[in-house]
Amino acid sequence: MRKVKQSNVRNFSIIAHIDHGKSTLADRLIEKTGRLTDREMQSQVLDSMDLERERGITIKLKNVRLNYRGEDGEDYVLNLIDTPGHVDFNYEVSRSLAACEGALLIVDATQGIEAQTLANVYLALEQDLEIIPIINKIDLPSARPDEVKKEIEEVIGIEASDAPLISAKDGLNIEAVLEEIVNKVPAPKGDKDAPLKALIFDSHYDTYLGVIAHIRVMEGVLKPGMEIRMMATGKHFEVVEVGVNTSGQEAVDQLEAGDVGYVVANIKNVKDARVGDTITDHEYPTAKPLPGYKQVVPMVYAGIYPAEGEDFNSVRDALEKLKVNDASLIFEPETSVALGFGFRCGFLGLLHMEIVQERLEREFDLNIVTTAPSVIYKVKTSSGEVLEIQNPTNLPEPTEMEYMEEPIVDASIMTPTDYVGAVMELCQDRRGEFKNMEYLEETRVVIHYDLPLNEIIHDFFDALKSRTRGFASLDYEFKGYERSELVKLDILINEEPVDAFSIIVHEDKAYERGRTIVERLKDEIPRHQFAIPIQAAIGSRIIARETVRALRKDVLAKCYGGDVSRKRKLLERQKEGKKRMRQIGSVEVPQEAFLSVLKYDED
């Protein structure tokens, strides 16, 4: 491993909105610095989860070390630390930014800055990073680089007139980006003789090595044989290996102040190597940990249950395996009358929830049922206690409650001015409280609203996209709890309440939600031999009702010789469908019914 002096190290990350070409640019940088051969150079090296590739977003952080000989003839080490591109992972983003001295801000030459990008720029500015604007997708005929530069200057207040105009896709002007990194990102500072201080910005579990923590050494030296201490948890471990990420992992003798790399230390669980924690020398510890550590708390909860015929234990094993790599996923067993044994899981947000769901299905090949997501409500009981409610079924009787509180977020929505009306209408509809509106430029604004989180987790993002033809972008952060008139909405199928369908909603929304859910269930629940009433109720008051009429006909009118096999296949398909249903009382409810309740009705 080639060594360079600290002054020739550059640690940077890339900030970009989804689709603005972050991964493609990362690929090009790797390619230009000759790190990977073409064969290894599958498209989008950094995004390695299938799911990430499909959606074009980064979920898990990656980092890679690039060797670059600058135009000045000097050898540089460029450490690219990737950031996840979604609001659910804001904390991870802030930690990976904390590991850098600079950030490339990739802006699409046609679309300009988006809310998510702006949020990450603010995070980067908080860390005092040097921000280097790059205008991408310059090859498109719709590109308007001059306006976008002007927008960057006006919105963020950084000089953008010299921003390289590139096309990551075509590999155009990539050298300019490398030179910008060398010339503008400050070299790391930090005393290698001081006691060890290293920031964990990511960690993952490896079957052979145990937990691999990805770190930035701020001060001191880290090498095998040392006893290290995790300052937040107090746990200590002996270092087995340190190294850097090139095309794979490459062990080195030591990492010192300014370096980015990984450490292996017989750590069995990622929760012992938490993102944001500071690693220090167990014997000669530093006085103060690095600032900014916090334990991430789940914002959204939902039940995950094995589908009919699926084993509870395999779901638990799978969740445990995911947890090893995902410290922010939490789960505990719970039982539902309708769904049997399952788990109440906590997620950072809706995307995180979807990821977990999809990984359980794809990587572990499990059939699961996920209940409607819920946020944590606070309940002040008549006895003065404050309860945190994640599952609507645990809500005390109305008579035992003094009041309830719900989480509110501070949301910023960036949109072309044409859609201001539509956006405000949506926010108003979702119980939003208007704060203010800023003009970014003549045609674009940021609208600030206080919005209840429980409104956001019901398809808010999709609704926003559809009302603004995809032009608006959303970012939000947790603001606090506020008192709210909330009620528990129960759904009864064939006169029996089904716990898995219960939700907590604002009083003003209960009727509408109840209506939507029973209508949807009416379409999803197949006709049975008897009529099935589907009701929405608050307490004992029924607020909406539909009936699935009795099945009158399910028959093969015709079946002769040539048909027998084919008709039997039809019946077999019907039988398969039946197997995937949940028996609730005497009613068979298909999985889709549970999912349909999740969705918010649009128009």
């Binding site: 031999q529 099945l551 009158r552 006909k553 399910d554 028959v555 093969l556 009118a557 015709k558 079946c559 002769y560 010789g561 040539g562 048909d563 027998v564 096999s565 039997r568 019946l571 077999e572 019907q574 039988k575 039946k578």
Partner: protein
């Protein structure tokens, strides 16, 4: 010698009805002669295989078998007589549409030994006939029916469909009344099935088809059953009705899961616990026969478990249901031991009627038969 039923497929017609998903090619007159030659070739291939069988029924279906020249039908049947043991033949049926029937064809059929004509009438409402793509009018039917009787056929079936687009309860009962007043020997009264990929199925998906709702459709069925019974017809299968001693013997072979051989394009056969089916394209069908091979595209083995399930499913189609003794004598096991629980559950729900020796659908069971079938299939 064992009994056997033979099916012959004629994949030609003048035009495709909008609900039809059978293998049939409209106006391919140029193909007919070559096809019949190959079909005869297939018949000859089975000469040895069927040596030990006694042919009891023959059914010529399609397509529209009377679309092609009557000579071809004559030749095929003669050739079958030449190759197989046909001394015990009890029934020879041909399907026919009204517009392609004429005196000459009927006389040839008679000569060829055909004794049952099954006419695809569907409805006597001219407007509805157009809507489903039939090529005949009610008048065409009456003319054809006259000829059929004139030539002396004494076993005639009418195929009728109910639940047609825009059909009312009254429409369907009108057709039934007219049909029963003709005193035909047999009536098939089918509920319309929208088969995947047919034009009508597509229109339905696009919302361009107004079908009677499920309640009206079932009323059609039950009122139809009543009307037919009152007209002297025995309801002997889900959709089939016959005057005394005129049940369709050929179809009973299917419902009783007895062996049958199908000749022709895409025809299915069932023999010795194997179900197999022919190629569905002319080219593959011909190519196999050219090489002297059976033109079989695929087959499946029916093990005992599946055979029992199929026996139940097919057997329950018959209104008299399943005979417990017959079940025992075929499988050497009591039907209760295999299906006891399923049968009991559906009896409680009112779908099945059971007494000492028979198991059969109730009237409600006939409407919801799939619910029982699904439970009878092996897991």
């Amino acid at each position: 010698m064992k009994d056997l039923a033979i099916y012959i497929h004629i994949p030609f017609c003048s035009s495709k009805c909008y609900y039809c998903d059978f293998i049939s090619f409209p106006r391919m007159d140029g193909r007919v002669e070559g096809y019949i030659d190959n079909l005869m070739g297939e018949v000859a291939l089975y000469r040895d295989v069927l040596r030990g069988y006694n042919i009891r029924t023959i059914f010529i279906g399609g397509g529209t078998p009377n679309y092609i020249d009557g000579r071809y039908i004559y030749n095929i049947l003669k050739y079958i007589h030449k190759n197989f043991n046909c001394g015990g033949l009890e029934e020879v049926t041909i399907e026919a549409n009204p517009e392609s029937l004429d005196l000459e064809k009927l006389r040839i059929y008679n000569e060829a030994g055909i004794d049952r004509i099954s006419i695809g009438l569907q409805t006597l409402d001219d407007r509805l006939l157009k809507g489903i793509g039939r090529g005949h009018s009610s008048m065409d039917f009456y003319k054809a029916y006259d000829l059929v009787r004139k030539v002396g056929f004494q076993n005639v079936n009418l195929d009728l469909i109910f639940g047609l687009p825009e059909q009312t309860l009254k429409d369907s009962m009108d057709t039934l009344k007219k049909a029963t007043s003709l005193d035909v020997e047999h009536i098939s009264f089918y509920s319309l099935i929208l088969e995947e990929g047919t034009p009508m199925d597509n229109w339905h998906r696009e919302g361009r088809l107004v079908l009677p709702d499920e309640d009206v459709e079932r009323d059609m069925y039950h009122m139809g059953v009543g009307l037919l019974k009152a007209g002297g017809y025995e309801h002997y299968e889900v959709s089939n009705f016959a005057k005394e001693s005129f049940r369709c013997k050929h179809n009973l072979y299917y419902w009783k899961l007895k062996p049958y051989i199908g000749f022709g394009l895409a025809a299915h056969s069932n023999m010795d616990n194997r179900r197999f089916w022919n190629h569905r394209t002319f080219s593959k069908y011909y190519a196999s026969l050219n090489e002297g091979l059976f033109p079989i595209e695929g087959e499946e083995y029916i093990d005992k478990e599946l055979e029992m399930a199929e026996y139940m499913i097919m057997g329950l189609r018959m209104i008299e249901g399943i005979d417990r003794d017959e079940f025992y004598n075929r499988f050497y096991v009591d039907v209760e031991d295999i299906y006891g629980e399923v049968l009991k559950r559906h009896r409680i729900q009112g779908l099945l009627d059971m007494d000492g020796n028979s198991i059969r659908f109730t009237s409600k069971g006939l409407d919801l038969s799939n619910l029982v079938y699904v439970d009878l299939l092996p897991d």
